[in-house]
Symmetry: C2
């Protein structure tokens, strides 16, 4: 790990312009010099993985962090080789001869400007920063291409699950029409614990105590984290660039134990699902149906298998059918595996397959069966009123469920509908919410239709 | 698709030797010229996928097949562009200026010599040939490296499931200690139909009628196909080169409906599992525990979710934990997706991550609980005799199951054991097989232990 090189890789590699103007692989003759920005959970896991595996092609040279002496003195710094330079100066890192910047700080500011400087000065960038890649990924990819360096972000979606690598390298020959998944481990932890009988508030508190959820859990439970990941997946899999702010989200915080009981009667469970699909009706008109929301998932769907903090992504291809990726989506070590794999890819001259990406519009208006749960002060005529509100917008009821044993003054019951548009059912829900029997706003969840099992 | 180029890519690409002597990416300035060897199910699917997606970087120039005029006249030839050269002469293809040979014929002879000629003459090779890669993969990879070309075989394992790409690109930063999976779609079809109630003979006949099984099904049901795939997975994931002939196999043809009934009582199902694991006891001594056999899988294991002709691979990493890949492992279109993705990788200058691979010894002697099913002519003393045979080799019984309703003259019953070595229990089984009450040889299956669910 002490080998020194007099020239940065870009100068020995002599990039050659080709007509296709794709980035060139860079194969430096010594180990690739790596600077870590951010020595938190993932950064220290990366140091541990590098120390354990001693990859001859990777040399950690710099660690940048605020208050760096505290980090340097911590137990987490133990696997870091003595010759590594610890610094609080980003300029020292960006002006050095490191070949790859490994960005593990997160957020847009000031990270975006640092990464732009790195790429412009001929350094490749490996990052796990989902917000940055969701909002600026396409533009940064163009910058990397222009400067003939790599920008790789395998850890930005689903942590240690190699879904981006699989999609890019293994499914580029397909036409992916839909990408759907469970990409927020915190929500999956909360909802799978609720499936096992716990209440939302209790599990959220547990998740916070275990460090899975922030003290302000909004980014996770309200769907913004999953939305960023969905936009990255859309770009890679559907080759559709989406504006994250256009993707509708729905919180999981209004889902209750009652909903899990009714879901089970419907042979389903409930998970936070992120879904994006090329709009078949409007195909060619560059529209993608996208949404992040708690949804009812049939027990036969692979997504119903995902428990705990696990992540799962299902990519549906025109030719290859459904491909499922699953594993640990978060945590220091799984994320470190993803970023170290990306570092090795840079060191081994990896070049991403670059397929054309289109800027697409988003619609959250999806044709699907829906689940409606009401809590009412029971009196004659309620079912008739609800059925009337649905009939008014031409929605057919598929089933009506009412479990015994509830207080008639706070009676939960459920209606499922035949397929209807989100916009239509939301209109009906707004009308029903105004009925004076409603003790709380009705909960409306999309129901995923069962995928046919590949039993031939 | 009609662009012509006067020079093959290797001449315009001017490879540069580096100290690490890894293959260089080749970025030709026009489309990569592709020759297909073998225009069967997969070959014609590749032509269809290429025609549907019109990748500007890929140009199909030659199709080689025996009796090629019959192929050319078939409906499957319809998507093939008019300018493609159809030929029965392998020399015409190998002496042409094609950049990539796509080999879809299969088998070792004469394919190995053709592929060696192609690599030696500077052509990259994409292949779905599992036997070739299992037996000759390491040697061919060295030849490709020497001649600075690519040898990619993403379709050789699990067809359309990008497990090799995911392992190579997304998990290279981990230390994979175990690779386990369901990699033969025919066996998975047969066993999942048996799980649903059918008898082996009936399902095998159905599989043959549907084209999933050969008229001689031995390669599938006796485990040789899965064994080849396991050896490829071992090389990529464990970085352990195994001799396929050393890996023990066990047929699925002796599994009966009775076994599925008992498996269900044990909260398990039965699948053909291929497993390879770095030997923890002998670690550092280059031994891998490997085996292909029908095994009992707990219902909580991801592998129990795999139905029909689906494939599933679970890679267990020291740092990243379990990563699951699943999807369609066979069939023209999924396999075509894998090979077209590999062609795109070559066209886009892909270079595989090259990590050191060790030649390893194989042991099939695995410490595990086992399932023993006997069919006996019932009389007093049988259980005592069986228990005695197990006690003699110090194996403890975990449970004894006997379902009611069977003829006492052909009574099936089951013993499960505490963990014991394969070699030990096989010794006991050989002794028990000689008892005169045994109406058929006892069936001995390894039981996989439940994986802890990642519920934190």
């Amino acid at each position: 790990m002490t080998t020194k090189r007099s020239q940065p890789a870009k100068k020995t590699s002599a990039p050659r312009k080709t007509s296709s103007n794709k980035p060139k692989s860079r194969r430096p003759s010594g180990p690739v010099r790596v600077a870590i920005l951010g020595f938190g959970t993932v950064g220290s896991s990366v140091a541990r993985v590098l120390a354990a595996s001693k990859f001859p092609d990777l040399q950690l040279t710099h660690i940048y962090n605020r208050d760096v002496e505290r980090k340097r003195a911590s137990a987490a710094a133990k696997p870091v080789p003595a010759e590594v330079i610890w610094t609080e100066s980003i300029d020292e890192v960006l002006n050095s001869k490191v070949d790859v910047i490994l960005e593990l700080i997160g957020g847009l500011n000031p990270i975006e400007s640092w990464i732009r400087r790195a790429l412009t000065s001929g350094k490749s960038v490996v990052t796990a920063n989902k917000q940055l890649i969701a909002y600026r990924g396409a533009s940064l990819a163009r910058l990397a291409q222009k400067h003939n360096v790599q920008l790789i972000h395998g850890a930005a979606v689903a942590g240690g699950v190699p879904v981006l690598a699989g999609l890019l390298q293994g499914q580029s020959g397909d036409q992916i029409t839909r990408i759907r998944g469970i990409v927020n481990g915190t929500c999956n932890f909360i909802l799978s614990r609720m499936e096992a009988g716990a209440e939302y508030g209790t599990v959220l508190a547990d998740a916070q105590a275990l460090g899975y959820a922030e003290s302000n859990p909004s980014a996770d439970v309200d769907g913004f984290d999953a939305r960023a990941k969905l936009c990255i997946l859309s770009r890679i899999a559907l080759r559709a660039e989406l504006d994250p702010d256009q993707v509708p989200t729905q919180t999981i915080s209004t889902v209750t134990q009652t909903d899990f009981h009714y879901a089970k009667e419907l042979d389903c469970t409930i998970r936070q699902v992120a879904t994006a699909e090329i709009d078949r009706q409007k195909r060619g008109r560059n529209t993608v149906q996208a949404r992040v929301a708690p949804m009812l998932i049939p027990h036969t769907s692979p997504m119903a298998w995902s428990h705990g903090t696990g992540n799962m992504v299902v990519a549906t291809g025109r030719f290859g059918g459904d491909v499922v990726f699953s594993g640990q989506g978060a945590g220091g070590n799984p994320t470190a595996v993803a970023v170290v794999s990306d570092l090795l890819a840079v060191a081994h001259g990896h070049t991403s397959i670059q397929l054309p990406v289109k800027r697409c519009q988003v619609t959250g208006d999806i044709l699907s069966p829906h689940y409606l749960r009401f809590v009412v002060n029971d009196r004659p005529g309620i079912v008739s009123a609800i059925a009337g509100a649905l009939a008014k917008v031409h929605i057919n009821i598929d089933s009506l469920l009412q479990r015994p044993g509830h207080d008639k003054h706070a009676l939960p019951f459920v209606v499922t509908t035949e397929p209807c548009l989100t916009s239509t059912i939301e209109k009906a829900v707004r009308a029903m919410a105004k009925m004076d029997c409603m003790l709380e706003p009705p909960l409306c969840l999309q129901m995923l239709e069962p995928d046919p099992l590949p039993t031939a």
